[in-house]
Structure formats: structure tokens, C-alpha cells
Subunit: 415 residues, 2 copies
């Protein structure tokens, strides 16, 4: 019997306890050892829980108990999770987590501490919930050079965009529905502003490229400015708008890493990833495109990924899994201004569509108008060819001086 | 430096050598050790190859060289691969393979020998080519009860069906095109009769349910009888016909495991897996549906999966990966006759459509006619509700006695 502890008894934490209890036998068969839960740490009381004997409010109970070999940190947030995790690793306990914020901001440091103390720090559940992605990336695809990762990494925003695309809801209506259904929090900023997806693409990039890419290096833009007009133009263009977390290795060795809404073509494997689902495309030089798809969040999917990591720690007690990246600095990321991609632009102006189109052709590369029935008068939507972001910005400024009111500008993906 | 050997210098074998050579540095960085290729075994001569010093025609060179720790068996077929693999494992060398036929027929035995000699026998490349599936199933999804696996496991047949669905090619035309493009072999039986997919679902079922499910227990049916009429009726019904390898655990603990063409609804995640791509859906009780998608075959995708296994062996020299299943017998599989599912049936008869429909309603459960423009006169197509296969057979016999010529009968998937 190996003893484990669970820190945080919220949605994921209670799921972890449930999965460990309900699958006790099959887990024991697979790990060749039973896994017990000795402590559940939470500051709240749960008078109706059947696990009264396991609850503690004192972190030290877990830290000082030599019997506890593996701890699931499912508290979320950086503090006090960071401090707890560090102390646990230093005391020779393995830690597994679903805490993407902590891994994205402190991953390199915690992995280093784990290495120094010959224990494991695993975080399969931090990206994609129940979708296996960390382990396939670090093990199965290890013989590949990963050229690009692009993913729909946040279920809440994908639900909102799906409602806009499929049911012509406005952003506000769709957000309100997501909140009613429990998909979005009352303060939805972390999701709709793209920060959650930013943390996840940080983790994937760090894993694949071997250096920590901190979230603050990732150009991050949410979906709050997406309008139904844009959704309709995207459809006329032959695609959909999705919030994409993406990292590409450029020829000079730097990374083009962003989270932003993108137009993706309808025949892309990510275009049909709808509702709260996540989809992650990994482009390898040998494997070609491999896509992972499933529920990216939710109690049981996430909990089952945490439990799989606990099992892996139990199977590897005293042995290290090769999961590792070095510290990194901003120099590994290409400044957003210098990245190059085509964009979709929607603009209106009193001078009329024809004049706007002629001016656009003058200012932007390879302009192609998007025609759709029902578009507003004096409104022009078009796509450009590849342009450096700084040049696009200059062209937009000149376009506005000319009298165009630029209403939207959205990246076009190369998926 | 860890020395490896490659047995078989065909498409996959030459790819393995290429990936090991071209990614030498990044592989060394990730495994913390360089991997050298000491031998390449092949009975043929390759006078133009730059690796003259590595070729050997003698298996004993590899077997008797203590320096060789890991061997990639990419010869295919059961003999002599089985004999070679057994001897290598017994001599304390780890073996990795893409040989689905060998794993499907001798997996339990070879895994047992590997265990006894504290070495690894890994086969990520045997299913899904470069798509990670074996490792996610055995590790990431370990905390799940897998309720069902359903996959498009054979790229050749999927290419043929895609051409029939998208371009209204006949089966024969599409097969000829697949052969011209090198997707199908001159003798295409293993693909089009479903045997290749049968081996793959055998491997996945054995892995997930812990007992060897031999291919001869798997009801296997290919796509040679699929006609354009069926494809068109499937479209009118709202779906497509795909060759699906499927395993489900039934309530009595036995497995419903088959390879057969199935009608799947257009909104299923497998419906858009087209051309030579593979897609594998894993339904877990905690994770829900997780889908893996990518190129299921081809030189570099498959080779990169083999190399990832080599790397894993090198990282685990002297340690065992937990990959294991016991021997199994026919009792773990539900006889096909006793399995239950709805079917699509197409029939013709001189008595006319109306009489056929009335008789069908009498004989089959929950009959629903499929109406489409352009259908032949006196032809009726319909779907049934859930029926035991033995009962469907009896109903078909009675239908034929009545004067119906039953032209097609295809399972309807629950995906």
C-alpha cells in the first residue's frame, strides 16, 4: 500500500478521490500496489463527506508524514500551491498537479527541485484535461522535431464561439449561457481574455522546446471583440473563428507563440472541434499532423488524468520520469511585431466600398475581398497575404487616416 | 553510447535508420545517451547505401553481440520474426516493433518472456503508425475503465471508401487508384478483407482488457461488398460507411469485438477521418470520448514511433515498462451471433417496394425506410432497431423466402 494525499477538495480534488476509490481494484492491478488516501487538505469543512478521518487543515500533517509518497496538488493558483509543492518535493515526495497556472509560471524551478531530490513532478492534467497530451508529446513523439503545435485549449471560449457560429448568438448572450451552464465563471476574464489558453501553450512550448516559455512572453488576445459580423464573413470565406494557442519554431530558432482568435479553414482538423471540446494539433517532421481531441475540462476527465499521474509516480517510486526543461528568457520568443502572417480585416467608411477596396489594395499585400450577402453598406472585408505585424499596423494606421474605420483584424491560421 | 540493431531494411526499417541518423543530436539530448546503429539485418544487398559497414545477413551477429541492447524488428510477418524476437528477449535485449501481425498472434507470450528476462517489448508503431495510442492507453488513460474503442485503423480501406463517398468511384476503380498510388499492395487482401484492422483491434483489446484477444476470435469482414448504392443510402440516412474496428465490454464481462463496415452518423468524430488517415476513439468512463487522429501508416510516421520506443528502452535499460497482458481464450469474446446492434438493409424484389416494406416491418424491429432520389425501382433500404445477429439472420432468411433479394446488410455504429 502506497499512501497519497490530495490537496484541495474542490471540483477536481473531489473527482480525484472519487476515481481513486471507485477504481481501487483495477488501479491496484495496474500499479501492482494499492493506493491509499491518507489526507485530504482543505480549509473548508465537509461535514457530509464520508471521508471525515482523512480531512486536515494543516499542510504540515502531509509534509511531515513519511508514509505519504505522492501528493496531488489540485488547489489551483500560485499561492500557496507553489510553496507547498516546493516543500513536498524537497522532502522527497512526488507531486502531481492539474494546476496550469503554477506549472506555467514555476515549472522550470519545480522540475529542477524534483530532479535534485529524485522525485517526480507530473502535470498531465494541466493541459487538455482528460486528453493525453503531455506524455505523448514527451515520449511518443520524442523522435520528432515538433514544427508546430496549434490547439483549441480552452473549452469555455470554444463553447461561446460555437454558439456564435452555429446559433448566431451574440458574444454577450453566449457568455451568459456559458455562465448559466457552469462552463464559465462569474469572473470569466481568465478564459475570455485568453490567459488560460496562454498558460497551456506556455507549458506545451516549454516541454517541446526544452526551455521555459513564460506566459508573459506569449502575445495573448481573447475573444471579447469577436462580433457576429466577423463570424459571418469567416463563413463566407470558408472557415470559422476559433481561439487558437499556437507555437511554431521559426528558421532563426525563435518561437512564434501566441494565443489569439484565428480564421481557420473549414477542412482543417480543428474546425470541427466544437462546444466545450478541446483539440490539439501537433505537426511533427516525421509523423505529420497528429490530433488529440476530447473534453478539455470537467471534474472526472481532469481527475482521471491526475490519478493516472499518481499511478505513474507509484510505479516509479525512487525513479525519475524524464520530464524536464531548463529555465528560459524572453530571447527565445520572436517579438510579436516581427512575426509574419496573413490577416482578415473588416472596415467601414463613408467613402464607400469601392474607394476602401482600392485604398486597401494600395496598402496591404495581396488583398482579396470577401463577398457575402447581407453585409452592411460601405463595409469592406478582405484577407491579406503574409505581412509582418508591424507592417500591417502601419497599413491599418494609413487606412484609418484615409477614412476607414477598421472594425476587426484577425489572424488567418496556416492549419 | 547505447548500441541498437535494425532487423529489416524495407520501408519502415530504412525510415528508422533515417530518423535515428537525422535526429541524432536531439535524441541524444532527450535520452541522455547517444544511440548508435551497429547492425542492419537484411537478406538483400544494398550496394548504394552509405551504411555498408552495418549490413549483415546473419541474425547471430546481433544475437551474440553483448553490446547491442535494443533491437528494432521491422521485418513484418510471423516467421522468422517470432523466433528472432524470442531469442533476443531471452538473451536480455529489449525489442521494439511495428509488426502488428506478430504482436497480435504472439504478444502475450513475448511479453511474458520479456518480463522473465527484465527487458522491454514495445510496439507503439504496431497500431496507428505515428499516432500515439499504445502508450496513452496503457498510461494516461490508466485511471479509466475503457468502455469502448472504435477506430478507423486501416488507411488503405479508408482511402478507398473516401473515394467512393466523395467522388462516386466504384470500389474497383478506387482500389486500382490506391494501388497506383502505392497505398494498396498488389495483393490487397490483408487490407480490404479487414485482417490488418483485425490485428490492430486485437492488440488494443488485449492491452485494455488485460487478456490476449487473438485475431481469430474477432469477427472480421472487409469492404469488398460495399457498393455505391450503399454509400448513397448512407448519405441519405445522414452518415458515411467506414471500416471500423471496435471492441466493447458487455455487461456479462465478455467483449463484443469486430471489424466490419459500419454506418456512422455524420456528426461522429470519426466521420470526417478521410483518405489514408486513421482515427481512434477511446470511450472512458471518466474521460468521456478521446480521439486520436493522424497518419496511420507511411515510412516516417511509423519509423518515428519505432524510434520513440527505442529511446524509451534506452532510458529504461534494466527497468521494466508496465506493458503486459495475460494469455486469453475464446471465452472472453461474445459469439458474434449473440451480439446486438441495429443494421441497415437494402433489398430488391419483384413484389415491389410497398410489399417489401410491409414484410420488413413484420420481420425486423423498428424498421425505418431510407428515402433517396434516384434509387432503383423495386428497391427498399431501411434501418432496424437493436437486434441480436442470430435474429437478424433469421429475419433475412424469411425476407428472402418472401421474395426479397437482400443486397446489403451493414451494421450501424453507436458512435
Amino acid at each position: 500500500m502506497v499512501q497519497a494525499a490530495v490537496m484541495g477538495y474542490g471540483v477536481v480534488g473531489s473527482g480525484v478521490v472519487e476515481v481513486l476509490m471507485e477504481h481501487k481494484e483495477s488501479i491496484a492491478r495496474r500499479t501492482k500496489d494499492e493506493i491509499g488516501i491518507k489526507y485530504i487538505l482543505d480549509i473548508r469543512d465537509f461535514p457530509d463527506s464520508p471521508f471525515q478521518d482523512k480531512f486536515t487543515k494543516s499542510f504540515e500533517d502531509i509534509l511531515n508524514d513519511d508514509e505519504v509518497k505522492v501528493v496531488a496538488e489540485v488547489m489551483g493558483g500560485v499561492h500557496p500551491a507553489y510553496d507547498f509543492t516546493r516543500k513536498l518535493l524537497e522532502s522527497g515526495k512526488s507531486v502531481v498537479t492539474s494546476n496550469k497556472e503554477l506549472v506555467a509560471t514555476k515549472g522550470a524551478e519545480l522540475l529542477k527541485i524534483a530532479k535534485e531530490h529524485n522525485v517526480n513532478y507530473l502535470f498531465e492534467a494541466s493541459v487538455g484535461g482528460g486528453i493525453p497530451i503531455i506524455r505523448p508529446l514527451s515520449q511518443c513523439l520524442a523522435a520528432n522535431e515538433v514544427i508546430e503545435i496549434a490547439g483549441i485549449l480552452n473549452g469555455t471560449t470554444n463553447f461561446i464561439l460555437t454558439k456564435m457560429i452555429r446559433e448566431s448568438m451574440s458574444f454577450e448572450e453566449a457568455l451568459a449561457m456559458a455562465q448559466r451552464l457552469g462552463y464559465a465563471e462569474r469572473n470569466p476574464a481568465a478564459d475570455i481574455e485568453g490567459h488560460d489558453a496562454g498558460r497551456k501553450i506556455s507549458i506545451l512550448a516549454s516541454l517541446v522546446y526544452g526551455k521555459h516559455v513564460y506566459p508573459q512572453y506569449v502575445h495573448t488576445q481573447g475573444i471579447t471583440k469577436i462580433s457576429l459580423e466577423d463570424v459571418n464573413y469567416a463563413s463566407a470565406w470558408g472557415g470559422v473563428i476559433k481561439l487558437i494557442g499556437q507555437v511554431k519554431k521559426l528558421e532563426d530558432g525563435t518561437l512564434d507563440i501566441t494565443v489569439e482568435p484565428m480564421l481557420i479553414a473549414k477542412d482543417s482538423q480543428l474546425a470541427n472541434v466544437d462546444d466545450v471540446f478541446n483539440g490539439i494539433l501537433v505537426r511533427g517532421d516525421s509523423t505529420g499532423d497528429v490530433v488529440f481531441y476530447g473534453k478539455g475540462a470537467g471534474k472526472l476527465p481532469t481527475a482521471s488524468a491526475v490519478v493516472a499521474d499518481i499511478m505513474d509516480c507509484v510505479k516509479h517510486l525512487g525513479k525519475r520520469k524524464y520530464l524536464d526543461w531548463a529555465d528560459g528568457d524572453e530571447s527565445i520568443v520572436k517579438p510579436y511585431d516581427e512575426t509574419v502572417f496573413p490577416v482578415y480585416i473588416r472596415a467601414a467608411g463613408k467613402k464607400g466600398k469601392k474607394a476602401l477596396y482600392e485604398k486597401a489594395c494600395e496598402l496591404f499585400a495581396d488583398v482579396k475581398e470577401i463577398v457575402r450577402s447581407g453585409s452592411a453598406e460601405n463595409e469592406l472585408a478582405f484577407t491579406t497575404g503574409d505581412m509582418k505585424v508591424a507592417d500591417t499596423e502601419k497599413a491599418v494606421a494609413a487606412f484609418e487616416s484615409f477614412g476607414a474605420d477598421v472594425l476587426s483584424k484577425i489572424r488567418i491560421a496556416d492549419l
